[in-house]
């Protein structure tokens, strides 16, 4: 492939990475559970696109399956499961915050800066500053931090699941960016684990709803010490 092609693919990867970061910020600023799920699906589509671009641009064929799995599992299957879940339990769709949106966005902006400096220090070991894909490392670390932030500051059980999945997306993107993904069989195993985890958490959401009459995790308070 010619250098100009490589360059334009690098540009496309950068655009997708930026889009992934934007979806993460939109999740943080969203008040509605339905948006959470749709934004997560969108984020996963962009993640799948990054993986596809790596396949096209760098000839790493083993990522093709991981890219397809990202779209099938994270952008389609998991969002369907989660949407069915909130429809079935007819939860109040407003998300409660422990930190308001403006402050949340500012904090997440700070996290992006922290993530970038961590990423630069990791990439410093590579001569020549790395490829177009390794630039994405800072986005991936930011995504992990924002995922963690969503989990700790948003109060619905479902928002914790979305936070966890956002974190997982960040980890996947980091693998993609610095190592062109893990060996295929490992990636497949990881996807399998994530899918099972979401199903199990889904079962718990049903049961929490049944026993606590809400999926607000503030109700989970009986166990202390």
């Amino acid at each position: 492939m010619s250098p100009t092609h490589i360059q334009s693919i690098g540009l496309l990867i950068d655009i997708c990475a930026a889009a992934i970061l934007v979806t993460a910020f939109l999740i943080v600023s969203s008040r509605n559970l339905g948006f959470y799920i749709r934004l997560f699906a969108l984020q996963s589509i962009f993640l799948g696109l990054v993986a596809l671009l790596v396949v096209i641009g760098y000839g790493e064929m083993h990522i093709l399956i991981a890219a397809v799995l990202t779209i099938v599992v994270k952008a389609v299957a998991i969002p369907i499961v989660l949407t069915k879940m909130i429809d079935r339990i007819q939860v109040q769709k407003e998300v409660g915050f422990s930190i308001n949106i403006t402050v949340s966005l500012l904090l997440c902006g700070g996290m992006v800066i922290v993530a970038d400096s961590v990423a630069q220090s990791i990439l410093a070991v590579q001569e020549g500053g790395g490829s177009a894909v390794s630039r994405v490392l800072s986005v991936s670390i930011a995504l992990m931090l924002i995922g963690l932030f969503i989990m700790t500051t948003r109060k619905k059980a479902l928002t914790q699941i979305i936070g966890l999945l956002t974190m997982e997306n960040g980890v996947f993107l980091s693998g993609l960016s610095i190592t062109y993904g893990m060996p295929l069989i490992v990636e497949v195993g990881i996807f399998f684990d994530i899918l099972i985890a979401v199903l199990i958490l889904g079962v718990f959401v049903f049961r929490i709803n049944k026993t606590f009459e809400s999926i607000n995790i503030d109700a989970l308070r009986s166990l202390r010490h």
């Binding site: 990791i122 963690l148 693998g175 060996p183 490992v186 929490i208 026993t211």
Partner: protein
């Protein structure tokens, strides 16, 4: 031959899981589960004899690998699983009789017990660090529904917390593994092998130190969460107190050691790569923090299952501390402690379950005079507590004494004094609560009797083993422990 042995080790529990999924009759489920645990235990001892002879074995394609360390922990895990499977038979029959458990729950229990054993074996024989991760995450998933087994509000809350906290931890560990992979990508010739522990060890010196240091932090936090190292231990008291007692026992004696095993693998790698005290210092600090953190929660405790959970936090701390000291003597102590703590934890969780079934409560205040109500279990309880808290003549005394001596010998005087202080405070807390439970006058309306004779005999064997290990370590066992310690030396 290695391929056959590895296939048997994970194939047996997989086959048992599939069979459990198909059959629903209680007797068949019991036979499958006990046989599977027993047979896997036999394969683990076979693995042990092979690594004694050949030091390491790996499969031709390089995915599976075992040495003295993995075989030693595999034997402990399978042994615990066998005891737990045997005890589960009587435990579940009793629960079915008192209508706490229905047929579907019984089926799910045995199915997941076998899956749980499979996931632990997967971690222990993986050479590929990616598989190691997949297996570890799978242990969480296999046990999640078991923690929520009784479907009470509190058990669902505990299971939720357990899955969320451990999944976050393990996601961070995955990032650590990716960083390790990254540090090796330029030095390991075939990229597919860059995730194999055995190939990483060969090139350890060439791995990038800065990236590896960062990777180790994520690994420590991630697998430390699974092991229940403070301050990432918060899921542990909830999960242990809500899960059925045999499952808590297997989590405390099996899963904890499997998570520690993953930590040890990376610890060996990082020590070989950096050759300095970076990882050791982190281990010393986290070990002491875990021990110290457990003290107040043990001194002010209401439920005896939570008491045992905090004791598990303490013992993970003891082992990690011993690893941090890093001398051959300390490694020997750590490996011995791994074994005696596993036996003591199984003994006490199962005994605690006898007490709970008799008194229908896990609140310590509501239990008194156990010695007259359930004399056998009460004796096990009080003697077991002495064994657990490292009192002579029991095994834990020998291992803790070895660790402290190693600490002083290597010049870690202040940490070692802290270590003694924590161990003694925890002993005092335990004796205070347990003696109140065992002695005193029993409450008038204690309805349940003691467990069946077979279960009590099983617990008696565990107690005898603890006593034996305090006075005499048989030469074959000594050799196994030394082999495991030798792997830790790198």
């Amino acid at each position: 031959m290695s391929t056959i042995l590895f296939s048997l080790l994970i194939g047996t529990p997989i086959t048992a899981s599939v069979l459990c999924a198909v059959f629903h009759r209680r007797r068949i489920l019991e036979v499958i589960s006990v046989t599977s645990a027993g047979v896997t235990f036999l394969w683990a001892t076979w693995l042990m004899s092979v690594v004694i002879e050949h030091k390491t074995i790996s499969s031709p394609e390089g995915w599976w690998y075992a040495d003295g360390l993995s075989a030693y922990i595999a034997v402990i895990v399978c042994g615990s699983a066998l005891v737990v499977a045997l005890y589960s038979v009587g435990y579940l029959r009793r629960q079915v009789r008192s209508r706490n458990v229905d047929g579907r729950q019984l089926w799910l229990y045995y199915l997941l017990l076998n899956v749980f054993l499979f996931t632990m074996m997967l971690v222990l024989i993986s050479n590929n660090l990616g598989f190691l991760w997949i297996g570890t995450e799978a242990t969480t998933l296999a046990t999640a529904l078991l923690v929520a087994f009784y479907e009470r509000e509190s058990s669902i809350e505990a299971a939720w917390k357990y899955v969320i906290i451990c999944s976050v931890g393990i996601a961070l560990a995955l990032f650590g593994i990716i960083l390790t992979y990254f540090s090796a990508l330029h030095v390991v010739p075939a990229a597919g092998n860059a995730l194999n522990w055995s190939s990483l060890m060969v090139v350890a010196k060439e791995l990038d130190p800065a990236v590896l240091k960062l990777a180790f932090i994520f690994i420590l936090v991630g697998f430390g969460t699974k092991a229940g190292l403070a301050p990432m231990h918060t899921w542990k008291p909830d999960a242990y107190s809500e899960a059925p007692a045999p499952i808590s026992a297997l989590m405390a004696a099996g899963l904890v050691n499997v998570a520690l095993y993953s930590l040890m693998r990376f610890y060996i790698l990082v020590n070989a790569a950096l050759g300095d005290g970076y990882a050791s210092t982190l281990f010393l600090v986290f070990g002491l923090v875990s021990m110290g953190m457990a003290v107040p929660f043990i001194l002010l405790q209401r439920s005896f299952k939570r008491l045992l959970a905090y004791s598990s936090v303490e013992h993970v701390g003891i082992i990690v501390f011993a690893l941090g000291i890093g001398s051959p003597l300390a490694y020997f102590g750590a490996m011995l402690h791994l074994l005696v703590n596993a036996i003591a934890k199984v003994l006490l969780f199962l005994t605690a379950s006898n007490v709970r079934l008799a008194y229908k409560s896990k609140i310590m205040r509501k239990v008194s005079g156990a010695i007259t109500v359930i004399p056998v279990s009460a004796t096990f309880l009080i003697v077991g507590v002495f064994a657990l808290t490292g009192w002579p003549p029991f095994g834990a005394f020998v291992s803790e004494f070895t660790i402290v001596s190693a600490g002083f010998a290597s010049g870690h005087a202040v940490p070692s004094i802290l270590f003694i202080g924590f161990v003694v405070s925890i002993f005092v807390g335990f004796i205070y609560y347990i003696s109140k439970m065992v002695l005193g006058t029993p409450a008038a309306r204690v309805t349940g009797g003691d467990a069946d004779t077979a279960s009590l005999l099983l617990l008696g064997v565990l107690l005898a083993a603890l006593l034996l290990l305090g006075v005499y370590i048989p030469p074959p066992l000594q050799q196994c422990i030394q082999n495991a310690a030798a792997v830790l030396m790198g």
